[in-house]
């Protein structure tokens, strides 16, 4: 898998995704509406990567565990508790910039 250009196809056909806490992976998965379990590697993890995973978990969009608790999580998970992830709104940004420059 490592060197595939895009996982989009695989994502599309998946029922459940288990991923590391990388922002790209998390967001891409959530945007496709797939349930996601984020696995934190305490030893390798760059602190800032954790921020997003933690927040997504707090907001109820992902499940969260570490390598040693993964099996337990898979056994006891209830995916229906996950909330749908609303898309970002670049149009709000465009509107903001238009206001700055006086384009309306």
């Amino acid at each position: 898998f490592r060197f595939k250009d895009s996982l989009a196809e695989d994502l599309q056909s998946a029922d459940l995704v288990i991923s590391h806490a990388g922002a790209g992976s998390c967001l891409e998965t959530l945007e496709k509406g797939k349930p996601l379990i984020v696995v934190i590697n305490d030893k390798l993890m760059d602190n800032h990567q954790l921020e997003l995973a933690k927040q997504l978990h707090r907001d109820g969009y992902v499940l969260y565990c570490n390598c040693s608790t993964l099996v337990e999580t898979l056994q006891s998970m209830d995916l229906s508790t996950l909330k749908p992830f609303p898309p970002g709104q670049p149009e709000k940004f465009a509107l903001f910039l238009d206001t700055v420059f006086g384009f309306q």
Binding site: G24, H48, Q55, G88, P90, F93, F96, V100, F103
Partner: protein, 169 residues
């Protein structure tokens, strides 16, 4: 690079043709962004036929986890390298979102502003990954940018001069 490029292209996705021509600046070591940018611009040209863009590369200002002292040296070098590029393009707006590459460009634009050569508006959008803390680029550009946009409320609280629009990417 990578995530930053994806984010910035999303930011650009709803902009009108008033924001044209677009000048992209990449790190010389960035291998993947060029393809993403060209693909984005190609799609855009389907709707806006007069669409124009350029692509330039500058030396990477800092490698991940590079030491402080050598980072200052490499960043200074990148700033000096960026000055002629920024002078040539004289952008009305610089839009950036966090890779080290953006710092020298913004600082060079800031300097050109101080020298009364060109006043550029600098808009920085912190990455969606930054929920509780700012990136190093963010910490620096919080002081040099005209508008500093954050995507999570915690950061708005910590950095009151920032703008919070919710998640924009």
């Amino acid at each position: 690079a990578g995530g930053h490029t994806t984010e910035i292209l999303r930011l650009l996705s709803c902009l009108s043709e008033s924001y044209s021509p677009r000048h992209y600046v990449l790190a010389d070591s960035d291998k993947m962004s060029e393809a993403k940018i060209r693909s984005f611009e190609q799609k855009r040209a389907e709707t806006f036929s007069e669409s124009q863009f350029t692509l330039d590369r500058i030396p990477r200002s800092r490698e991940v986890r590079q030491s402080w002292i050598s980072s200052v040296v490499t960043t200074l070098y990148s700033i000096v390298y960026s000055l002629p590029l920024t002078y040539k393009r004289q952008p009305d707006l610089i839009l950036c979102n966090g890779p080290g590459t953006c710092v020298p460009i913004c600082i060079s634009a800031f300097l050109l502003g101080l020298l009364r050569i060109k006043r550029t508006i600098i808009v920085y959008v912190e990455s969606i990954c930054r929920v509780e803390t700012l990136s190093l680029s963010g910490k620096i550009l919080y002081y040099f940018s005209d508008y500093f946009i954050v995507q999570w409320p915690d950061l708005k609280r910590k950095y009151p001069k920032s703008v919070y629009l919710g998640r924009v990417v």
